[in-house]
């Protein structure tokens, strides 16, 4: 009874594929055909006979004290098997990725709209929802804290030219949402002259709205009670082992009794790094003794995961007359919402990389993460770097305008390169082709002007809505460049585990790769196969279902899996290869130095040796399991921010060309061009896919994507009003992928997924500014910002 009848990644055969292609090839995804044909089972497709449906009752208030919860009417509803509240959580009642501060179910206070308060399991989802509506919660509604600076007691800025923005004393005037106060983290970067002066000074304030990951597959999972008193959870997630750890803590069960298997994941982008229904479904399954499925609908999904931190930022750039950066001062505020989630690490990224990929001798950055009663914010693609890029790249454009310099020229003049020191004192010890990325963009041809010949409405701002035939339309071009750390930073023990098996199945040598690394749509399963093919010289590679019966692979985030789990798979393959070659040498009876694996055989180029693996292995199985780590990073100094914080950086740049209907404020992005250094493209087609997807997500934040919050309440929890780009919004792209190997990384590769998400939006914003001549300091840009109405 412990196996669902529909498992998302299916039997291992599903991920075998007839495939071919090693490292550097455009290998086909093993799950590609299933997905295109609509046959791939996602978490929401999980099903077992006799299962119950779980639903969550959530707080309608952003901040309230709970006087009492009465579940009697819900329990009395026919078809209901269980109604649970915080009292029913057997273990630790709070959890969290970095700080355990978030209740599994609300204790005495709710701190955001949508906070889970109670759970219901019933034989039908409609029955469960009806019963949930019958739970009576008596709330004492409190005044919510909805602004990060107010939460910290910092004054809001109203004078752009007041250059003393740093506030050292926290006045703590607003309500304390947590016992330690409302400050989650304050990161300081201090380098060079504390009181620098410069010929030219540019000050700006910027704001970034709250973006959602907008993954298409809602939070879903199925918890199955096990005979040993434990539970098996099939769930769509990003990091099985960090889920397992938190679930064990809440259930007071050891890891052996909480077994997780990855269900089909329909996108993640950081939004599945925190727990959603995981503990809830397990609690209901253990209470009822029956499998329990939970699957959020679209509206609940907007309340069921963290979002990208909104940011308010104030920057001051000083430069010489001829365009050399002298100093940057920045104050960056991230609104973390009600619970910490990954706010400390987001502050880490925002602060350490907050001035962009430039060489600046004097830097003074204060980066804050605050608790408020807004929805909790945490991981999202770009992780703290997306927000600051809007600010620092806008500043570079403003500075270029002030200096009368070309914006690309100014950037190239100050660009980081290999050997440059970052503001945290880290010397960049692998290629950093910032200027080259920009120069290559500049050299690309520009798209034809609009309005030549017959008007095609699809090319116009507004599309087929027929708002302009060219009237009011002006073109603009903008550039941006960005960088981001790859993998986990600041001394975190970042590792992955891989188990690789080699055997002969049906006469064919077959490798099986077993890791717990979550495939969320990015194509890691393809990469795992490619690496095994290259390292073991076999065609047939089975990707074992992702589960916790192997060690942690770390998170599918921070652009890290190809690097870290790819590194682990490569190392495990090498171990297996050693065993195979040793066996081959025993067979031939002597040492052959150039023995290698190719085409399913052990071969030598210097001697005429070809030993088919089928003969060499017989019925034997060779296997290796190991943990692999990238070189260690260090914690940064709490007062100066100095230290070897990040193991690798990814660099990308964008050029955006836009047409803006300046009278109506509507934007058509005409073309996006991107250059990115990926070190080594393990799967070039997948790399291009990541660049296109990241670009679209960045474009979305620039012109439309925002969760609108008023008084702590979400006003647009649906895809009717939370808009993401369509094919008429996302233009064709020009992409150049550079491959400058990082000598410290497996195959020389760099993480790919996040960088293009960071530089795309600021380029679009710069292009809109160029088209309109308006300062535009907030994203997403709304039509009203352009028309002034």
């Amino acid at each position: 009874m412990s196996t669902p009848t529909r498992t998302p990644t299916g039997a291992p055969e599903h991920l075998t594929g007839p495939g071919s292609g090693g490292v550097g090839d455009d290998a086909q995804r093993p799950d590609g055909v299933l997905k295109v044909r609509g046959e791939f089972a996602y978490g929401s497709d999980l099903w077992m006979e006799d299962m119950l449906w779980g639903v969550t009752l959530r707080s309608p208030h952003p901040y309230a004290r709970i006087r009492s919860v009465d579940t009697s009417a819900a329990l009395a509803t026919p078809g209901v098997s269980a109604v649970l509240t915080a009292d029913d959580v057997p273990g630790e009642k709070v959890y969290g990725l970095e700080l355990a501060d978030q209740p599994v179910l609300a204790l005495d206070v709710v701190r955001y709209q949508g906070e889970p308060v109670a759970l219901v399991a019933a034989d039908h989802p409609e029955t469960a929802r009806l019963a949930a509506s019958r739970i009576h919660v008596d709330y004492d509604v409190l005044e919510p804290v909805t602004d990060a600076r107010t939460a910290l007691g910092h004054p809001t800025w109203n004078q752009v030219h007041d250059s003393t923005a740093e506030v050292t004393e926290l006045s703590r005037e607003s309500a304390h949402l947590h016992p330690e106060g409302n400050l989650v983290r304050h990161l300081k970067v201090r380098t060079g002259d504390p009181a620098p002066t410069a010929d030219v000074v540019v000050v700006g304030e910027y704001e970034v709205g709250m973006q959602d990951q907008a993954f298409l597959g809602p939070e879903s999972g199925l918890a199955v009670p096990a005979e040993d008193g434990g539970v098996e959870l099939h769930v769509a997630t990003q990091w099985l082992h960090v889920d397992q750890k938190q679930i064990c803590s809440a259930l007071a069960l050891p890891p052996e009794q909480v077994r997780l298997t990855l269900a089909g994941v329909g996108g993640a982008f950081g939004g599945r790094e925190d727990l959603s229904m995981h503990v809830h479904a397990c609690l209901l399954a253990l209470r009822t003794g029956r499998p329990v499925k939970m699957s959020y609908n679209r509206e609940e999904s907007f309340f069921g995961h963290v979002h990208r931190h909104p940011a308010t930022m104030r920057y001051e750039h000083g430069a010489t007359r001829d365009g050399e950066l002298v100093y940057v001062k920045a104050a960056i505020y991230f609104d973390g919402g009600a619970y910490a989630s990954s706010t400390p690490a987001v502050v880490g990224n925002g602060g350490t990389m907050g001035i962009g990929p430039y060489v600046v001798p004097n830097v003074h950055v204060d980066c804050y993460g605050a608790y408020t009663n807004n929805p909790p914010c945490g991981a999202m693609r770009g992780f703290g770097s997306v927000q600051t890029a809007f600010a620092y790249e806008s500043q570079m454009d403003a500075l270029a305008a002030e200096l009368g310099m070309d914006p690309v020229e100014l950037r190239c003049r100050n660009a980081m390169e290999e050997g440059s020191a970052t503001p945290t004192g880290q010397v960049i010890d692998s290629p950093a082709p910032v200027a080259e990325l920009l120069r290559r963009l500049e050299a690309m041809p520009l798209p034809a002007a609009s309005g030549d010949g017959e008007v095609d409405l699809r090319d116009m701002p507004g599309g087929v809505s027929n708002t302009t035939h060219g009237e009011g339309v002006r073109r603009g071009v903008g550039y941006a460049v960005a960088y981001k750390n790859v993998a986990f930073s600041e001394g975190y023990d970042d590792h992955s585990t891989a188990r690789v098996r080699l055997e002969v199945v049906g006469g064919e040598p077959t490798a099986t790769v077993h890791t717990a690394a979550a495939e969320v749509g990015q194509g890691l399963v393809t990469v795992e196969q490619q690496i095994a093919r290259t390292e073991l010289g076999v065609e047939r590679v089975v990707v074992h279902p992702k589960d916790t019966s192997v060690g942690s692979a770390g998170s599918t985030s921070a652009s890290r899996q190809t690097y870290v789990t790819g590194g682990a798979v490569k190392a495990a393959c090498e171990k297996v290869r050693e065993q195979v070659l040793a066996r081959a040498e025993r067979l031939v009876g002597r040492t052959v130095p150039d023995l290698r694996l190719a085409g399913g055989s052990v071969v030598s180029d210097s001697e005429d040796i070809t030993v088919p693996l089928a003969d060499l292995l017989g019925d034997d199985v060779l296997e290796a399991t190991l943990e692999w780590r990238h070189r260690p990073t260090e914690a940064i100094d709490p007062e100066t921010g100095q230290g070897f914080a990040h193991v690798q950086y990814a660099f990308s740049a964008h050029r955006a060309v836009v047409d803006v209907d300046t009278e109506l404020g509507l934007v058509k992005v005409v073309e996006m061009a991107c250059t990115q250094d990926v070190g080594k493209a393990i799967n070039p087609q997948a790399v291009v896919g990541q660049i296109q997807g990241g670009t679209a997500q960045g474009l979305g934040l620039a012109v439309m994507e925002e969760i609108l919050i008023k008084d702590g309440k979400v006003r647009n929890p649906s895809f009717t009003d939370y808009l993401i780009p369509t094919i008429l919004d996302m233009p064709p792209m020009r992409i150049e992928v550079l491959e400058y190997a990082d000598p410290h990384a497996p195959y020389g590769l760099r993480g790919v997924g996040e960088a293009p998400n960071i530089s795309s939006g600021p380029a679009v914003l710069a292009a809109i500014r160029a088209a309109t001549g308006l300062p535009l300091t907030r994203v997403p840009v709304r039509p009203e910002h352009i028309t002034g109405t």
Partner: protein, 293 residues
Amino acid sequence: MDFLQPATWAEALEAKAAHPDAVPIAGGTDVMVGLNFGHLRPARLLDLTRVADLRDWQVADGAVRLGAAVSYARVISELGDRLPGLAMASRTIGSPQIRNRGTVAGNLATASPAGDAHPALLAAGAGVEVASARGTRRIPIDDFYTGVKRNAMDDDELIAAVHVALPSGPQQYSKIGTRNAMVIAVAAFGLALHPDRRAVGTGIGSAAPTPRRAPAAEEFLAGELDSSGLWESRAELPEATIARFGELVAAAAAPIDDVRGSARYRVHALSVMARRALTWAWADYRNSANQGA
């Protein structure tokens, strides 16, 4: 929830008479969203997809009778020349999948102020044919919208068809959304020139509690065209006339601030859309004379 499936129009009217609370469903592009989000839990659904007559359209007496279950996709592909304003509006609706399912009658039944078809129907001076077991009546489009998501139909009535006169002059339709496709209107504007009766029709969407016309703008423009002999001369429209028309259209709106846009922006956008729509429509009118049409 009961699911009623009449096979004929007569059966449908009987079912509606017997169960006035039954929610009619044809394309389902509104109803199914309500059901899926849990916002709608009707006791009964009345499925109209088996009533074949509703999928027909005919031309008679100088007007199109558009059956209630004709999809937007068919309005675009089959009626683009006969119902140009409505076809332009239909092109702005949702995705191809939605246009294949959704119907003009569904837009009317929901009567959302943001419904895309309404400004085109108002500008063209459409009539809504509604029926019940008691009989059939025609509701002029001006009287149809009675409040936010309310219309002039009785509980036992169903929409049989929409009647729209064949165009005697150019029609235009513009809609503002905050992305370039698949978006609910922030504001929309429909315009129809009626040279046969020397009149001007307008329709405003998403900028008042109901879709509405801009009567002062219509009268102003018709008056200018008349007094200056422009219907006959087809001379260029004075800039001042175009600008004034835009102002009067904007003045007819009574919008609110909401997540999709500010009231001020809606007013501004209406004036711009009205000016541009008039410019394009008048250029078409002048062109049609040059081509001898």
